[in-house]
């Protein structure tokens, strides 16, 4: 897929924000006053920045409110509804922590339950697509959840949960890269002509570009997939783990977070760039 910056930013930042809000809601980190303002502000800010970025992906952003209507069938709609509900559910807890000198446990707990569910819904937007076999795999929701929890723990300054999350994220990323299938169909099954012989594209249906080729049969980002994987794995998982182990205290956490976020952005870029849609078969055949 064309790795649209709006989608890379949306999935990475909103995942981070919901991860941070999860730990703030649970009360594992319970700041008050100004500190609470900064910490909750960071969580809400990341989520809102991510959601705003996602609106840039729309052809008609002025109609975005309609996306809240189809939660019974559509994962994209569920994601929108859950994101809004999570932010609202957590609002009393955040308000109490900032202005009243005490959090509101029931609201925090509700937010902590809803935040990972929202991240799961984001992942399901991609994991539901049978047309992209690399996404249609159990590792997709696991990567999204682990990235959210690891990043959230780093931002919340929680060393042990962060390390556990990073190890889970590392395993999930490797599973996605090594285990998720590349192919779910062939040109033979796409055309139904395989029974008659070997099928090969002879002439393209059009000489200009089109939406499908620009959006789905995207190849440029894939050329450097191996190096991108190294960058992503080192930045998102190994670097933060090493800095947490070697540098105790705030310095280690800050360095870990500073490495993790660009690492995750690289991993997400790869996630979109490497996605191969079955419609590519009609254009490029099985050699793609």
């Amino acid at each position: 897929m064309h790795p649209a910056p709006s989608l890379i930013v949306f999935t990475t930042l909103s995942g981070l924000g919901f991860g941070l809000l999860f730990f703030l809601g649970l009360g594992l980190r319970a700041p008050l006053g100004w500190l609470a303002f900064l910490w909750f502000g960071l969580g809400y800010g990341l989520v809102c920045a991510g959601l705003a970025a996602s609106a840039f992906h729309l052809g008609r952003p002025e109609r975005a409110l309609r996306a809240f209507s189809q939660w019974r069938t559509s994962w994209l709609s569920r994601e929108a509804v859950l994101a809004a509900v999570t932010l609202l559910a957590l609002a009393p807890h955040a308000f109490g922590s900032v202005f009243l000198g005490a959090g509101v446990p029931w609201s925090g707990l509700a937010g902590a339950v809803l935040a990972p569910v929202t991240v799961l819904a984001t992942a399901m937007i991609y994991a539901q697509l049978r047309t992209v076999p690399r996404w249609h795999h159990w590792s997709t929701p696991v990567v999204f959840l682990a990235a959210s929890l690891a990043g959230g723990a780093l931002l919340a300054g929680l060393c042990w949960p962060a390390m556990a999350g990073l190890v889970a994220l590392g395993a999930a990323l490797l599973a996605q890269w090594w285990l998720a299938p590349r192919r779910a169909a062939t040109l033979a099954s796409a055309t139904g002509l395989g029974v008659r012989g070997t099928v090969r594209p002879f002439e393209a249906p059009h000489t200009g570009g089109n939406y499908l080729l620009r959006e789905m049969v995207y190849r440029v980002g894939r050329r450097r997939a191996a190096s991108l994987r190294r960058v992503a794995f080192t930045g998102a998982v190994l670097g933060p783990l090493v800095s947490l182990l070697l540098l105790p205290g705030v310095a280690g956490l800050v360095l870990a977070a500073a490495l993790h976020v660009p690492g995750m952005l690289a991993a997400r870029w790869l996630f979109f760039a490497e996605a191969e849609h079955v419609v590519g078969l009609y254009y490029h055949g099985d050699r793609g």
């Binding site: 539901q128 049978r130 029974v195 089109n210």
Partner: protein, 244 residues
């Protein structure tokens, strides 16, 4: 809600006969022409007279080479458009309800006034049947010419999709697949009509008819072998020429 109807009393769709399609692209052009002026937003071209022209089309004709185990290669022209699937994944993924399947006849449509142009339906479709219009910024797809097939102001023969009406070889057929006695159902039964990518679980309504097996004319043998067996005048000529 973008839930799929449990069943539809009619299943309108197309049969595409790969045996007789000659790849003339008349269906592509007539589809573009009709759907740029009637129902919904037009199918817009960008940079139409420039260096990189492109546009939105609801129908594209690929050409494939098929090489059998024993026999010469064959060229198959392959029109690709919306298959109006019974289990249409493009409908259920839609966050706004703009993408829907009509309960009465099974046609998959987009309500362009409610489309936010997120592109997820195009991603969910295995067949590349949906294209986001570069100018209108909404998703476009085959409507089965809904403004022709039920349009009583048109003469009876014109109440079929534009691609079917314009096909010069009769490679495209329109009808109701829910009726086992319909023209299209009989064609599918007689000719072994099949689904594209059945593994995707989409249950397409449109069916494709396979190319018929070709005759295998004997290839002309090399000249000297013919001359060796030649008798009569040709045999005499062969011997006379050999002596020269």
């Amino acid at each position: 809600m973008t839930a799929l109807p449990a069943d539809t009393p009619r299943k309108l769709g197309l049969v595409i006969d790969l045996d007789i399609c000659v790849g003339c692209h008349a269906c592509v052009v007539s589809c573009k022409e009709w759907n740029s002026q009637g129902h919904g937003a037009p199918l817009v071209d960008t940079d139409a007279y420039g260096a990189a022209p492109e546009g939105t089309f609801l129908n594209r004709v690929h050409s494939y080479e098929v090489v059998p185990q024993d026999g010469p290669a064959q060229l198959v022209h392959f029109p690709r458009s919306c298959l109006h699937c019974e289990n249409a994944p493009c409908v259920t993924v839609c966050p706004t309800g703009a993408s829907y399947k009509r309960a009465e006849d099974g046609i998959v449509l987009v309500n362009e006034d409610a489309c936010i142009g997120c592109g997820l339906c195009a991603w969910a479709c295995p067949y590349g049947a949906r294209e986001l219009d570069g100018v209108e910024r909404v998703m476009k797809k085959c409507t089965l010419c809904i403004d022709r097939i039920h349009n009583e102001t048109l003469p009876e023969p014109d109440r079929v999709p534009a691609c079917v009406r314009s096909c010069p070889t009769g490679a495209r057929h329109f009808g109701d697949f829910a009726d086992p006695e319909s023209h299209v159902s009989r064609l599918v039964a007689e000719r072994g009509g099949y689904d594209l990518m059945p593994g995707m679980g989409t249950k397409p309504v449109n069916k494709y008819l396979p190319p018929r097996p070709k005759d295998r004319p004997l290839l002309a043998a090399p000249a000297e072998e013919v001359a060796g067996d030649a008798v009569g005048f040709l045999g005499w000529l062969d011997r006379a020429l050999a002596r020269l």
